[in-house]
Symmetry: C2
Subunit: 531 residues, 2 copies
């Protein structure tokens, strides 16, 4: 089971730690800090009000399950959970076992004027699954139990899953047959396939496997106004793609119950090389050249100089880091260096020329290949990022991220602008921000920019939340000014909602609204999210 108040499973120890070098760095950058007081599960459970839901055999109105399904993983969610000030709880949680039960629950909701929140893994970082205040009772439908591989068509490489399958469940079932979906967002350990589709997710190796838009072939969505069966066709010119309406619908149209996804045999070979480049510009040029030359890679991830420096400082083995830096220095890769992780996946026959081409391009831009050692460390820790919030929190620091996608011609200026906006957002309080960025998910046209920012918690939760609000607004406004998307991989939820019209335009917003009105005429599905 997922822990109730932090990232991770209850079966596993929370062993993410900040080493002394990292602590020193943070204290130097942000000042000394101390942790805010924590709530307890029992304390929070005591605050859960009586349920407003009529009785239904599939709905559990117990306090604990309602606490455990009340919040996602955004920083405001974290502050709510740790302070115990949850605000609104769902009035009940249902865990349907099959499509018929989902149908029953939706009919029940429609007939009783109940709002419905579809819940996958509860990993949203933008408020997708949080109940909103209102007079209508709130039913959270958690898809957890619908996690089976229902069918595997090896010839067409299509797997049918219950939409509640989380990353490890999904991959384990495919692996038994020698297949993989290859969708590995950082939330992979808990996030579900249905949630990925509803939020238009992207995985770390999207360069090989595609975004969820490319992986989602079709499936079934139960809506208040009927059932949408999306046929799994390789491609079609028969009118606008209904599949694309489900993608990014964030629970506003209905609940995906079964999904068909495009899978691949597990690759013969997979390696990650780490290359250091002399500057951000050199790194961006190398990455852009590889992407636009269509070198057959599975991942390109470039940390900017501050992220590179932070990662090296936070590494366990500082002696190794010193040796590495000495070696890089001898190759003219010193201060301002950027770290590039290059994923190569495929058959032996494909990996060999891909690696050669990639390394030739890196070299052209002054890159120094350090081989696969650091890449193995990256791969080993590829889902560990979210665990770092806990030791930071215990040290009195908060961490959050913002991300966008930008055309290549605007990447450098946008990175500067977003970092500057976030970095100076608490100037009025005299608080420093530690902000750094990586680029990943590369396309011919551009890439995503993903900024992480750390700041010191204020003396209390309310002020800490206000700090976050300033940081979030500053970052989001900078993204809008740069003409980036308000989200490349996290979705809209509540936290990005006000920035969506800048991207979609008046008619685009009205178009999405008209779909919501059709699928859900009473406005019961996940109200307040997306639009």
């Amino acid at each position: 089971m997922k822990r109730w108040n932090t990232w991770g499973s209850e079966n596993q120890a929370l062993d993410a730690k900040l080493g002394p070098a990292a602590m020193t760095m943070l204290e130097q950058l942000l000042g000394k800090a101390s942790a805010l007081p924590d709530s307890t599960l029992e304390g929070v459970m005591a605050k859960v009000p009586a349920s407003r839901l009529p009785q239904h055999p599939l709905i559990d109105t117990g306090a604990e399950i309602r606490v455990r399904h009340a919040r996602g993983q955004s920083l405001p969610d974290h502050l709510a959970v740790r302070s115990g000030e949850f605000g609104v709880f769902p009035d009940g949680v249902a865990l349907p076992e099959n499509t018929e039960e989902v149908r029953q629950l939706l009919d029940f909701a429609r007939d009783n004027d109940i709002t419905v929140i579809p819940y996958g893994g509860g990993t949203s970082v933008v408020g997708h699954i949080n109940p909103a205040e209102g007079d209508r009772p709130v039913l959270t439908i958690a898809m957890t139990r619908m996690n089976a591989l229902l069918h595997l068509d090896k010839e067409s490489q299509i797997a049918t899953f219950g939409a509640g399958a989380a990353g490890p469940q999904l991959e384990a079932q495919l692996k038994e047959h020698g297949y993989t979906l290859g969708h590995f967002p950082q939330s992979w350990e808990f996030a579900t396939i249905g949630g990925w589709i509803a939020s238009r997710s992207s995985g770390q190796q999207s360069l090989r496997y595609g975004r969820i838009e490319q992986l989602f072939a079709g499936g079934r969505m139960e809506a208040l106004n009927g059932t949408l069966d999306i046929p799994a066709i390789p491609a079609s010119s028969a009118g606008p793609d209904v599949r694309e309406m489900a993608l990014g619908s964030e629970g506003r149209l209905g609940i995906l119950t079964e999904v068909k996804v495009r899978v691949t045999p597990v690759a013969e070979k997979e390696i990650f090389h780490v290359v250091f480049l002399p500057s951000w510009e050199a790194g961006v040029n190398a990455v852009r050249t590889m992407a636009q030359s269509r070198v057959q890679l599975s991942m390109l991830r470039l940390s900017n100089a501050v992220e590179t420096e932070s990662m090296l400082r936070m590494a366990d083995n500082q002696e190794e880091v010193a040796l590495l830096e000495e070696y890089l220095g001898s190759k003219d890769v010193g201060e301002g260096k950027t770290m590039l992780t290059v994923g190569i996946t495929g058959s032996e026959n494909q990996c060999v020329p891909a690696l050669t081409l990639a390394m030739e391009i890196c070299e052209e831009f002054g890159g120094v290949d350090t081989g696969t050692h650091l890449g193995e460390i990256w791969a080993h820790g590829r889902f560990k990022g979210p665990y770092l919030r806990e030791p930071l929190w215990q040290a009195g620091y908060a961490v959050d991220t913002m991300e966008t996608a930008i055309n290549w011609c605007d990447v450098n200026a946008s990175m500067e602008k977003i970092e500057t906006a976030i970095g100076s957002a608490l100037n009025d309080e005299g608080e420093s921000i530690h902000v750094y960025t990586h680029l990943s998910h590369v396309y011919g046209q551009g890439c995503s920019l993903y900024s992480t920012y750390l700041f010191r918690c204020a003396d209390n939760y309310e002020e800490t939340h206000k700090r976050w609000q300033k940081l979030k607004s500053a970052g989001a406004e900078a993204i809008v000014e740069c003409k980036g998307t308000i989200s490349h991989q996290h979705g809209v939820g509540t936290d990005h909602k006000q920035y969506l019209p800048a991207e979609k335009g008046e008619l685009g917003m009205a178009a999405i609204q008209s779909l919501c009105d059709l699928f859900d005429p009473k406005g019961l599905m996940n109200p307040g999210k997306l639009l």
Copy 2:
């Protein structure tokens, strides 16, 4: 200028011919035939009624321009044009020079209750641009003059074009800068970028460049109810993709005026190898293996045994064909053989391993590589298919095509079923059909199937049209039964409309209708098409 009554430009001689071997083959298969009587342009012009449109400086109500914009390139269109029985003509044609003029025309249409047909290259084969009967006057807006490259962002590889740019105009302007769009449907010589987007087109080398969905980055659509500005973002998780609503909208939502497309530097190298395989099954297995192994190719096109045989019989040089067949026979590739064209495009460094991998896979399935000679012939004639309708017509035969996309697991059975349905559709009249199929546009999940069928014209136009109706219905119903899409690359228009609900479902159809209602509340945009 495009010829008024057949495929081709008025500047170029109609030199497509059927050799004696082809004529013999057709007479044997279909029986002797004779041509139906032709109408003349003057004769048709004399039939054009007075325009019902109010005067407008941008609208031409002359008879000739109305004849030239009344019909597309479907077989019913061909029969209408050659017989002179056009039915409805547009009441006028406008050729706007810029977005402002399009806006003016749409406002004029809205204020005067005029239906609007957006017209690209007039190459639709499913009735997209044909005026429907009705009381409202019909204005065809031809985008011909808006064909310029407006901007090229080389860093982000985004080109902005007027939506009326036809294939050769578009590629010539890009080539000056060393770039290509790489979108080469058979209609390329006349079809436009706006039309490709509105009909969700796919080009012969979609394996490298992607379908138009992947190439279309954003742009501007003028609608009766406003303007839709679609930002060109590399990828986004911010809600349903508005870009996808324009794709396949078939003029029902509005008119694309400027489009941004993802372009690529012209590849260092491009070759087409032709491989013969001992059977259809062997060919399908080879193609599927190459697609699913992600071999970096630009095209895979497999003709079934009858198409292979037909192409060999229709070749100019029958002595060469005999030598080829002798050679193939010595390698156990004889009767029932299938011809596979393999496109390899990229840098020298990419083409070498791709060719090796592809040929290894072909060999595994008994394929014999004949090198690039036949591939060069294919590439030289890649847009020549549509020209064959004319010599066939003059010999008394009609030709049409049907296409779908199917998952790999259903490809063989579907090909059989579709060919059988078409091939037996005129059994009641004792007429034989010559039908053959190729597979192309390959995906991990499946591929398109493209069937060509030839039949003998009846004694008159009406009966010939009835024959076509039987053939079209038989093919389309077979596709629906096989759970293929009703079109992989031609769109819906009027001719596929009745088959769309089987694919989209009730809620899916209602979703598309709700978008139409929003963008065009009075139902003036291209009525009768798509839905």
